[in-house]
Subunit: 449 residues, 2 copies
Amino acid sequence: MTAQPVLASVTSTALILFNGAFQPFQAAIGFAILGYLFTTYMIPRVSPSFVKRGLYGKDMSKVGKPIIPETIGVIPAICYLFLMILFIPFMYIRYYYNQPDTYDSEAASLFPNGKLSSFLSGMLCLESMVLLGLMDDLFDIRWRHKFFLPAIAAIPLLVIYYVDFGVTDVLIPKIIRRYLQVTTNSIDLGIFYYFYMAAVAIFCPNSVNILAGVNGLEVGQTAVIAVLLLLNDFCYLFIGDSSSPAYSVHLYSSCMLIPFLGTALGLLKYNWYPSKVFVGDTWCYFSGMVFAVVGISGHFAKTLMLFFVPQIFNFIYSLPQLFGLVPCPRHRLPHFNPEDNLMYNSWTEYTEKQPVKPVMIPIFNAMEKLKLIALIRDKNGTIIKSSNMTVINLVIIWFGPKREDHLCMLIMLLQFLTGLTMLLLRHTVAPMLFGFDNSWNMLTRFYKK
Amino acid sequence: MTAQPVLASVTSTALILFNGAFQPFQAAIGFAILGYLFTTYMIPRVSPSFVKRGLYGKDMSKVGKPIIPETIGVIPAICYLFLMILFIPFMYIRYYYNQPDTYDSEAASLFPNGKLSSFLSGMLCLESMVLLGLMDDLFDIRWRHKFFLPAIAAIPLLVIYYVDFGVTDVLIPKIIRRYLQVTTNSIDLGIFYYFYMAAVAIFCPNSVNILAGVNGLEVGQTAVIAVLLLLNDFCYLFIGDSSSPAYSVHLYSSCMLIPFLGTALGLLKYNWYPSKVFVGDTWCYFSGMVFAVVGISGHFAKTLMLFFVPQIFNFIYSLPQLFGLVPCPRHRLPHFNPEDNLMYNSWTEYTEKQPVKPVMIPIFNAMEKLKLIALIRDKNGTIIKSSNMTVINLVIIWFGPKREDHLCMLIMLLQFLTGLTMLLLRHTVAPMLFGFDNSWNMLTRFYKK
């Protein structure tokens, strides 16, 4: 039992310290192992302190509704941040030791862009997110305030982007270019580019936070997204030209994501069904922000969105309930049936006093035909119940009641399959639309600054 | 009542946005006003949430021992961090917009060193300190562990120093140079320089944390140290040559300290006698780390120590009790007498079972003659009580029982006077010892890298 972690520590240390040509990548794997070890070591040891401080929640989907420590996501988050700081010398030392006099000779080093400040601003952004997420978990900030917490945490990222790079161009697809008769292939968004980046930074953390409520799902979805992003990185790292700017950007991205995956898996071990710990908003915010940071500083925020399809769908699907077109009960989580130990979808109920809004009746009927909602009618045909509009409930409607862990795995699988499809489309259809692979042109401009 | 903050907001915004030649300095004053306003706005609004979460303490030095919200120092700390991030464009934009091709022409810009990454590493270090300080306040980390928390938080600072600068030389005083017959005036400490920086980072936060226990003292001492450091900065800014490297270092230092002073005064308003809030370990760690960051990244950590004389004295004076040569009761705080509302020094009591250790008897007698301790003897001349060995108790012994706020003011005044003396010595005696003002030589090497 104790030999395993010792062996893993030795392996990770060896990977970090004795690595050859492909330096940061190998070190990243070492740090991922360390992250897993540290997270799994710390969680059982500190969880009782969290309960003592009042940080706990009831697991509603278990017999007896046991008390589970909450906000444990702060442990892997802090662990990740410190590992990444220790990682810095392995990513940047070559660049600084062989500091070239001109920018052209930089191509020889592993991070020709070498902008340490960009990396540090990402770290600052993540630390701010952990700090604000912790404030939220501690003091229950109101929903309308907490929605914007990620935007505040993203300020370091935006400020450094402004000071350090300031490239605010985006590409225009070939079709639009031809239609508008423009000759340039990019447009300068100016200040709107910062709104766009802030929107990405708000979207990623909140969308992870909204797709939650089943043991393991908060962490599971982030692990799947990380894997998808890594697959995207590998397309450039193992197929692309290693002297191109895209190569170094995706090496950077994979160096951020591999240790993240390590700590996330460490957390997943304790958060998986039946959960021994809950992760808290801190984890959702933090992990969402890791993706936002990678996407923004790697200048591939649009590609990033492709891997958030279930989250985007979940958000749009939730809108009628969020905006009050459909009544929104306090919890829309699936319903646990202790008799067969399965999860059933939950319902919004209608009464004579509060019937279905007339505007929603045709929409509900259409959705029912598309199998996007379950409706229950009385003998007169009046809708008396509609399923709550979340992806989790929808998956139960599609595939029937499931045990909590099977439900979680199913959603993770859907996330992975949609992401994989998007990845294939990204590298086949997108280059046709834009007339070229967008990595080259933009990145060259980006790093020539 | 409401006109005042509005006026202050307008003034600060004007200072930040419309500033001329002396740009960052004026913006720093604007941010300090904003910091004060934001801190004083937030504290009364969020304090009840802290109590609800169980973050409160009893004020032992008041009638009725009222319950006071604890850990409130996290508010000004977060406020300071975000203000400093918003400050970045005002400090660095000139440098980046007129990016010179060679290092020599940099002297024209306000921050010729212009190392944004150094600033960001300082911010990362401070955020880590707030995060770890908060962990300590939440989960009561054991004393022997929490002593090293600042060293962990300082890792970003040390790593970036290693990657970015790596200058590890220190000056040798002229006398030693002559004695050892060496020709160079500096010595390369190598890895020991990192231990030295880590030691500074451990010392500053812990020393602020130890000199505590009187309403307002935790914040008051940091405000005084900030003022002293600013006076030191002004020696270079208003007297020195503005094209020298020392000028930009001390401009940087004052830009860090002026907003710090603003937020600290905002906290002091509520922490001053009678305290409405307690600051928590978070504040002590955070504020101590601000000084460590300024000293380390400005390469004047030795000068920094001159302003910590009362803290250093307090630490050394406490050693016999910390190491068990003298019994150490759970609390060594001064004792509050509700009858006359004054603070009296507290005592360590000796019994026949636990008498004074023989080794301490001559020491106590000598200390008594030097007025460094108060002793009470029985009719046989045996010591039955000795005053607890902290600066706070010593000040009461010297100046008699005091009301809590007068006691705090007295200690702050002593801090200021010793600091001012040290400042004068620093700029008169030190240059003679070292043969020249150490700013020039070292800094030139530092920024030529």
